[in-house]
Symmetry: C2
Subunit: 187 residues, 2 copies
């Protein structure tokens, strides 16, 4: 169990530890350099399986408690077997998970007890892009909407501010909204 | 089982169906407009669970064969319970799954039999961004590297061309490397 840190508020986020980490890393910024890793194996057709376990940060090699595995595939209407969510849906899951963790952390820091938090996401994509029909249509999303329903001991203005602060500090929101350099090569 | 479409090549990708879809959607581009959706529930602390089932496309409501669920969390060194991969690692899984499906599709279209395809991904992130230590450090990745090992009936130049074509048509590669508008709001 995660330590309860705000008097009367238990969202399961240890804000004291996070504020301590911020102080420690301000003094030792090289320890803030993390590397996240993934290993993806092709299964069959458009079905792939990605395993995640080790990473580095705080100046050392780190490991998750266990290996985590997720699958991706394409749906039957794309003539695939639909063994798993699509990769673009997985990006929505990453975005939702990042913003939702942020909502819990910011709410805790502000002394707001959460009862439930639900995000509904929609991403628009014109598949003329990935099919190579129209070069003016991008491959990815033309836009994504995230809508939160939050049941908590706070008024609407406080909840809006919590959601806004989560967005401001979200790694995946930044990844999706801003360009990131990606190199893809054959070993 | 997916239909085998290239003589002597079976990677499980029905290229004939994909080429047919391209032809059909060229004639009816409004059917190419898809909407992908996700619903994320906060569990506890930084732990969240995202469920994906329905989407729209081809001018109709669509559904996966079943609901797919993935969890995200933060690791113990962030004072969390490490119940699942982090959201930023999930983005790597989406990127890997998208590029790997593309490798299988392009290889099939080019008559290349695959035996194994493995991608290793690394993403660099300075967590001074998400911790709010240094406003000049971005929240997301400073860069991502994807490295493929492919065992297939093809020479190195052909495999490099397959990987390059997959990248060119990848939805998630586009999402990560180019900006996408995301709105986050309270219902």
């Amino acid at each position: 169990m995660t330590t309860i840190t705000s008097p009367g508020v238990n969202n399961g986020v240890d804000v004291t530890a996070l504020l301590g980490a911020r102080e420690a890393l301000t003094a030792a910024p090289e320890a803030a350099r993390f590397q996240w890793r993934a290993r993806c194996e092709w299964v069959y057709g458009t079905h792939a399986r990605t395993t995640i376990q080790d990473f580095s940060g705080l100046g050392a090699e780190q490991s998750h408690r266990t290996a985590f595995t997720v699958d991706t595939d394409h749906p039957e209407i794309f003539a695939s077997e639909d063994n798993a969510m699509t990769p673009v849906e997985m990006v929505l899951a990453g975005l939702a998970g990042c913003l939702t963790a942020g909502v819990a952390a910011v709410a805790t820091n502000r002394g707001v007890q959460l009862r439930s938090v639900t995000a509904s996401l929609e991403g628009d994509m014109d598949i003329q892009g990935i099919l190579g029909i129209d070069p003016d249509v991008r491959n990815g999303y033309s836009g994504i909407r995230v809508r939160y329903e939050i049941d908590a001991d706070a008024d609407r203005a406080d909840l809006e501010a919590i959601v806004a602060q989560s967005q401001k500090r979200s790694a995946v929101f930044d990844i999706v909204t801003n360009p990131t350099n990606v190199t893809v090569e054959l070993a």
